[in-house]
Amino acid sequence: MTITIQDVEKIARLSRIYFSDSEKQNAQSQLNGIFNWIDKLQEVDVSNINLTENLDAGMHEREDTVKGESSVDKVLANAPQKEFGMYVVPKVVE
C-alpha cells in the first residue's frame, strides 16, 4: 500500500486542511511509514468476528426534555462576530 501525492491531496481536501507542496511531500513520506506499520493488521484472521451482534447492549434513551438554563449571551460570547443575537459568518449557502 503506497500513498501517492494525489492521495495526500485527496485526503487533505476531505479533511479541509491546507498543505503546502513541501508539507504534502512530508505528509506523504510520514503516512507511508505509518501505513507500512499499520498494514501488520492484514495478518489477522477476523473471519469469526461479527460486529453487528449485541448492538443494543448498553444503549439506552433518555427523555427529550430541556434541562437547565440556556443563555444566548453565554453561547455567543465566543463568537468571532455577532449581531441581533446570532452568529455572523461568511456566506455558507451559495
Partner: protein, 486 residues
C-alpha cells in the same frame, strides 16, 4: 507550610483543623510560582483559588465540609471549565471560554476541591511526551543521575497533570487516558494514575479525541489519594450515552491491602523485547505479591502485537470526525479565506499542530471510500479479538501485572522525528483502552540512571477497588520516595 504531603494527609490536616485551606492553597500557589520553568499551567487561576479557599474554611468551621473540601488540585486543559479559558493544548480554540462546566471537573468542584488552573497537555490529547502542546513542552521535575542538567519529558498526553503532582504544585489532578495518557506519564513522573473502566467517568464537557476510548481519571502521589479523587470524579451522567449506570463505591473507605489468594497473570507477549531493567522491575512486583500470598500465573494475550496498529486506525478515525467541528466559524481562531472551504482549510492549517494534522489525515484515509472495510472495519474486528483475549485471561486470573512503559523518561531534545517511534511508548497501555478495561500505574522503583519506573495492574470491568487494594500492597512494599524530587 510544607507542600511535600499527600492529598490524603492534607485532607486529614484540614479536618483536624491543623491548618486552614487558605494556608494550604497559598502554600501550593507559592510553590507553583517557583516552578514556572516546568510549564505545567496553560492558564493559572490563583486569585479565584484563594477566594474559594476562604469559602472552604467557612464550611469546615461550620461542620459542612464536603468530601474534598479545601484541597488544591488542578484540571487538565481538556475539561471545559465554565468561565475559564480552555484550549485542549491547541491554538485552534483561540480564547474559547466554555459557557458550561464538564461533569468531571464539576463533580470535583461540588466536592469542595479547589482548582489552581488548567494544565498543559499534548494538543487534543495526542502524544506521549507533552511535546505536541501549542503552549510549549512540560519539563519532568525528575532528573537523571548521569545528566542532571538535561530536561526530560514528563510523558503525555497528561504531561502537565503528572508534572504538577510530582513537583508538589497541587495535591492531585484530573487527566485523561485514550491510549495510556494517564498511566505512562504517571510512570515517568513517579506518581500514581488510574484509567477507570470505560464509561465510569462522564465524557460530557471533555474535549473529544477518540470517543470509544477516551476516559477521565485522577493522578496523585498515592493509591489512597487516587481512590479519593476517583470516587468524587466518577458518576452516572445521562448526558453521556456511554456513561455506566452503576453506583460508585467508596473506594477510599474500602481501601485495604490485598493479595492473598488472588491469581496474578503475567502475559508472556509483554515480556518479548522487555529490557533487563523492566524484567527486574516486574520480578520485584511478582516477588512482593507472592510474599503476600498471591499466586502468579503465566497467561497469553496473543493479540498484543496488533494492539498498537489497531489503535492507530481507530483513534485517528474517531479523531478525524471529532475534530471536524473546528472550522473557525462559531468559536476559536479563524483565518479568513477567499471562500468558505478556503477559510476552513487555512484555519485548520494554522490552528492544528503537526501531530494532530497527521492523525486527522490517517483517520480520514482509513474512513474513506475504498479503504473503510480494509482498515476501519478490520480494526474494529481486531479490537473485539483483543477484548476476547482479556475475557479469556480473566477466567484464569484476577488481575494482570505488566510494566507500564518500556523504559524511563527520555530527553526533551532526544532526536525523535519518526512518529512511529513515539507511538511505541504506549505499547503496554494501549490494549487496555481497546478492551475498555481499568488499569492503574503504581510507582515502584528507579532505573539505573535514577529515574522513576512504574508497574501496571489491569483488571476486568469495574474492578477498580481490587486495583486500588492490590496496588496498595505494591505501594507498601515499594516504599517509593514520593517527595525525593525537589
Amino acid at each position: 507550610m510544607d507542600t511535600k504531603i499527600t492529598l490524603t494527609k492534607a485532607r486529614d490536616m484540614l479536618l483536624k483543623k491543623e491548618c486552614s485551606s487558605e494556608e494550604l492553597v497559598t502554600a501550593f500557589i507559592q510553590n507553583a510560582k517557583t516552578k514556572k520553568n516546568l510549564n505545567c499551567f496553560i492558564t493559572e487561576d490563583f486569585d479565584n483559588a484563594i477566594n474559594q479557599a476562604k469559602d472552604s474554611d467557612k464550611r469546615i468551621s461550620s461542620g459542612e465540609a464536603r468530601h474534598l473540601e479545601g484541597l488544591p488540585i488542578a484540571n487538565k486543559d481538556l475539561y471545559c471549565t465554565q468561565g475559564i479559558k480552555t484550549t485542549a493544548g491547541s491554538k485552534i480554540l483561540g480564547n474559547f471560554i466554555p459557557p458550561y462546566e464538564s461533569t468531571v471537573s464539576g463533580n470535583l468542584k461540588n466536592s469542595g476541591a479547589i482548582s489552581l488552573g488548567k494544565l498543559n497537555m499534548d494538543e487534543f490529547a495526542m502524544g506521549s511526551a507533552n511535546l505536541n502542546s501549542a503552549f510549549g513542552p512540560v519539563i519532568n521535575p525528575w532528573k537523571s543521575n548521569s545528566d542532571p542538567q538535561k530536561d526530560l519529558v514528563p510523558g503525555g498526553s497528561s504531561g502537565g497533570s503528572a508534572a504538577a503532582v510530582a513537583a508538589n504544585i497541587c495535591l492531585g489532578t484530573t487527566a485523561s487516558d485514550t491510549g495510556g495518557s494517564i498511566r505512562q506519564p504517571a510512570a515517568f513522573c513517579g506518581i500514581t494514575g488510574i484509567k477507570p473502566t470505560y464509561g465510569l467517568c462522564s465524557r460530557w464537557g471533555m474535549v473529544a479525541f477518540a470517543s470509544s476510548l477516551d476516559q477521565a481519571g485522577p493522578m496523585a502521589h498515592t493509591i489512597s489519594d487516587c481512590a479519593l479523587l476517583l470516587q468524587n470524579m466518577a458518576s452516572y451522567d445521562e448526558k453521556d450515552a456511554t456513561s455506566l449506570n452503576v453506583n460508585i463505591p467508596d473506594y477510599f473507605k474500602n481501601l485495604a491491602p490485598q493479595a492473598k489468594g488472588l491469581k496474578i497473570g503475567i502475559p508472556k507477549e509483554y515480556l518479548d523485547g522487555l529490557n533487563s531493567e523492566g524484567q527486574a522491575l516486574l520480578q520485584k512486583g511478582i516477588d512482593w505479591l507472592k510474599a503476600e500470598g498471591a499466586k502468579i500465573v503465566d497467561i497469553s494475550l496473543k493479540m498484543t502485537p496488533y494492539a498498537l496498529p489497531t489503535y492507530y486506525i481507530i483513534a485517528p478515525a474517531e479523531a478525524s470526525s471529532n475534530l471536524a467541528r473546528y472550522d473557525g466559524l462559531r468559536y476559536g481562531a479563524r483565518v479568513d479565506g477567499a471562500s468558505l472551504d478556503d477559510m476552513y482549510s487555512k484555519t485548520r492549517h494554522a490552528g492544528f499542530g503537526d501531530e494532530v494534522k497527521r492523525r486527522i489525515m490517517i483517520g480520514t484515509y482509513v474512513l474513506s471510500a475504498g479503504y473503510y472495510d480494509a482498515y476501519y472495519v478490520k480494526a474494529l474486528k481486531v479490537k473485539k479479538l483483543i477484548s476476547q483475549d482479556f475475557d479469556a485471561a480473566f477466567k484464569k486470573v484476577d488481575l494482570i501485572l505488566t510494566p507500564t512503559t518500556p523504559g524511563a523518561a527520555f530527553g526533551l531534545h532526544d532526536n525523535n522525528t519518526d512518529p512511529v517511534a513515539m507511538y511505541l511508548n504506549d505499547i503496554y497501555t494501549v490494549t487496555v483502552n481497546l478492551a475498555e478495561l481499568p488499569a492503574i500505574s503504581v510507582p515502584i522503583g528507579f532505573s539505573s540512571d535514577g529515574l522513576p519506573l512504574g508497574l501496571q495492574l489491569i483488571g476486568s470491568k469495574l474492578s477498580e477497588q481490587k486495583l486500588f487494594n492490590v496496588g496498595l500492597t505494591l505501594e507498601n512494599a515499594a516504599a517509593f520516595p514520593h517527595f525525593k524530587v525537589a
